[in-house]
Assembly symmetry: C2
Homo-oligomer: 234 residues x 2
């Protein structure tokens, strides 16, 4: 018999312990959107599905809670977190902060090969613009930015960036995932960002540009919904 656990293990190829297996499986399900926000996670059910006991599942859920991907209420249960609009604002603001820094800190280590790769990805994003393919566009967008921030030498900041992206990705399918008005602008800003990095612009300048690039999406979202942030912006 082939359990869901085994296929998850095969897919990720990195689960070493059973708690790690449960974590990987749940993380994948949530980030991929198969477990939508608000979905309930019953420990015993997950345990049975993965053919493990509840203890490792419990541990996995607590880890996901620490990442902000699920909320865990005492004696009630775990639910996939995320649909609160204000939470979206917080996440975007935090991501704009840490991603801006990560991109700036990465910049000196970004070589011509990385630049070329990013340009290629950006070109494909342009195509998605014509084809009206938001899903692919979103995926490419993450790939583009990954190239720019993955060389960040500070692992803490890099980890925060990953967490922010994962939180956002978990919201795909919800209202916030894609702001059409921003898509075209975004592709242009990507080009400007690459130019800055290519010419070795000062760290502060790259940081500001990268931060603005993201917070502009937040602004567009706010403009579209007609909401006011209700708190200061960076």
């Amino acid at each position: 018999m082939t359990t869901a656990a085994e296929s998850a293990s095969k897919a990720a190829g990195k689960a070493v312990s059973k708690s790690g297996l449960a974590y990987d499986w749940l993380h994948e399900q949530i980030v991929a959107g198969d477990l939508p926000p608000g979905a309930r996670l019953v420990l015993s059910q997950v345990a049975e599905k993965l053919d493990v006991s509840v203890v490792p599942v419990r541990e996995a859920v607590r880890r996901l809670e620490a990442e902000g991907l699920v909320t865990f209420e005492k004696n009630v249960g775990a639910t996939v977190a995320g649909i609160d609009p204000v939470e979206y604002l917080y996440t975007m603001q935090t991501l704009s902060l840490v991603e801006g820094a990560a991109t700036a800190l990465s910049a000196p280590a970004v070589g011509p090969a990385d630049i070329a790769r990013a340009r290629e990805v950006n070109a494909r994003m342009r195509e998605c613009l014509h084809d009206f393919d938001p899903v692919q566009f979103t995926a490419l967008n993450r790939e583009f930015h990954s190239v720019l921030f993955e060389h960040c030498p500070n692992p803490h900041i890099l980890d925060l960036v990953h967490r922010g992206w994962n939180r956002l990705k978990a919201l795909r399918g919800s209202t916030f995932s894609y702001v059409p008005e921003r898509a075209a602008e975004s592709v242009e800003e990507h080009e400007q960002l690459l130019s800055l990095i290519e010419r070795g612009a000062p760290t502060a300048e790259v940081e500001l540009a990268a931060r603005r690039h993201r917070s502009a999406t937040l602004d567009a979202y706010l403009a579209r919904t007609g909401e006011s942030p209700g708190f200061p912006t960076l």
Copy 2:
């Protein structure tokens, strides 16, 4: 009989579950420095000391791991994290990033009463300068900055600030905790920071000042040890 668990519970007054109890106790021990970096945490021993079983302790340790306060190696055990100098650099850099943002975002909500309180704390820091009392100075320093960033409306950023401070506090007693050359400067910069906030300076300006205030301590540390960061700074 009075167990260590009960006294910890009484001290914090917030432990609801046993895993929460174990977490609180370990967190307090680590942050207070009673469990120095490198100390080994054996689950069964901690469990016995707190008069609970190993399962809640295990969960507490994983939570602490997520915060970066302990490292947990498979089939080996948990140790209190922290003495690596490069790790100190990463932590300080991250803290300078998030604390700068938190302070800037707090600024509009900081009222005259807060300002007055901060001034009072800063005055006491001046006294510590004369009395050569680094421990008290460090404590007051945290209190001072708490007043400035605790109004941060974004809970994610605020949480990151708390984590950073806790990590640093856990290192007290190690080489990094106190940079004498910075103490005097620091008190002056506090005054400048208060002036900025008092007059309602732009968010970006407050952020930069708060960030610089912290990263300057990092620079002083590097200057003293003669080390080079080996990676870009913000």
